[in-house]
Symmetry: C2
Subunit: 286 residues, 2 copies
């Protein structure tokens, strides 16, 4: 019953997204998806995981057979009423009464509740959580910056007509205004160089500092199914080298910030890795 409802709501979301990200319909559907996810997870048991990540505790939901992805205990506060407050604040365009920690918890809880539900009701489905997370983040980003994203850039190569190149989300705030380049990923692991490569490509085509690179990632946790152990897969040395030699990302936002990336702001050029909720405060100064 809940299984069908949640997938139905997700399909509605995918369908509506063609008409825009921050829309009344999508607010309604996200609300529905969150409620459905919470109903699915209410039927499940919590299983404590062994955390190999300093200062973080993780658990997973399980139906006895399958087990969900790891969930950060501190960030997970599946309080539906909090989302209702946030939604109302967004409608009035005022979020002053929320701390960024509160916002981070609401977004984390919504996103991971859906992903964990899919882990339990489907088998080896990576695509549904990935697509959902992309749309989910773009919904909030789009609300904050006030424009809808596009998924391509145009370039002119003189030999033929204009080439339309598919990209991650581009939010263009207008003529001579800021432009954000925002890849969204559940995790990056050994593919993280792609974030810098796409930024480099856009910098090469349009010139440096034309597009502000602000990828948003959920987490870098990995759970060993046999040992029920959670680790974070991080490549801080590589990230420093990418930021020095490939392109400069302005921020890398996470819903669950990996410990190993917090210190990268000390280097030169700095790489600032922080909670996505802080974007809501700082987006105008980026």
């Amino acid at each position: 019953m809940e299984k069908e409802s949640i997938l139905l709501a997700y399909n509605k979301f995918k369908h509506q997204i063609k008409r825009g990200f921050y829309t009344n319909e999508n607010t309604y559907i996200l609300d529905e998806i969150y409620q459905q996810s919470l109903s699915v997870l209410q039927l499940m048991k919590r299983e404590k995981l062994v955390s190999q990540v300093k200062n973080k505790r993780y658990f997973a939901f399980t139906d006895g057979k399958k087990i969900s992805r790891a969930i950060n205990e501190e960030l997970y506060e599946p309080d539906y009423s909090q989302w209702i407050h946030l939604k109302e604040g967004m409608e009035e365009n005022v979020l002053n009464h929320f701390s960024s920690v509160q916002i981070q918890k609401i977004l984390y809880s919504m996103a991971i509740s859906f992903c964990a539900s899919i882990d339990l009701i489907k088998s080896r489905d990576q695509k549904t959580p990935g697509t959902f997370f992309e749309y989910f983040i773009a919904y909030f980003f789009s609300w904050r910056v006030g424009v809808e994203p596009q998924n391509y850039i145009q370039l002119q190569n003189l030999d033929e007509k204009i080439i339309k190149l598919p990209t991650d989300f581009i939010f263009n705030l207008g003529k001579n205004q800021k432009k954000f380049h925002m890849p969204v990923k559940i995790s990056t692991r050994e593919r993280s160089i792609m974030l810098w490569a796409h930024q480099r490509l856009i910098d090469s085509v349009y010139g440096r500092e034309k597009f502000v690179g602000t990828p948003v990632i959920m987490t870098e946790t990995k759970t060993s199914q046999s040992k029920k152990e959670v680790t974070e897969i991080c490549l801080p040395v590589q990230w420093r080298v990418y930021q020095s030699y490939i392109a400069q990302l302005k921020r890398v936002y996470y819903l669950d910030v990996p410990e190993a990336y917090r210190e990268l702001d000390k280097q030169s050029p700095p790489l600032i890795v922080k909670p996505f909720s802080e974007f809501f405060e700082e987006w105008q100064i980026l």
Copy 2:
């Protein structure tokens, strides 16, 4: 029986590779792996696939339940004696009596026989074929250029001691001699930008044209399990843009060259995509 032998031989290969790529031991083990793969596949049936790729026909091996990856009919000539001839030629360092088409067929048949065997005797194992293919290609590359590869570059960032950065294979032919940067992948799909990003990184650190970028890829085929249909996942527009704006790869070699990439040598800067066997003839002029 064959199942165990082939995995045993593969484990020996993984173990021996720590002592070098082109070694007598590895020649012996590769021989064993090829024989074991052929025995496994002899017990299987061939199933014709629907090819959506112009001018190419594909089939797969099946045990009635599982089905292997797609195999190019024209390139697949699992003739063990051909490999023996090639092996002997390599030992004498003379391959003149082989055409590059013949060499391509021998390499393709060896590599895909192992991968197809693993598809059938294990479940959803992507890692074993991927690691095998990496070592397999490095074995031949190493024979041809006469040096062993390394898997890292060093860089100096002034603020601290030297950083050792893990990379794809680097073949350094000596002081003031050619240096090859060779990523090896079963397929690249939507991750292909990583080839150019790694080249860009190395170019940025060491200067342009210091390292010759020559990735080697098996194939870009994708088989729909339900429709038994083979397509090639290619992004020619993106590849042209990467070659113009991120870095220049000298060659992209394939064992099964995708049709859509053959025309990329017409553009400027050209991108030359060709059979891996041609490397054996042209490596000195790259």
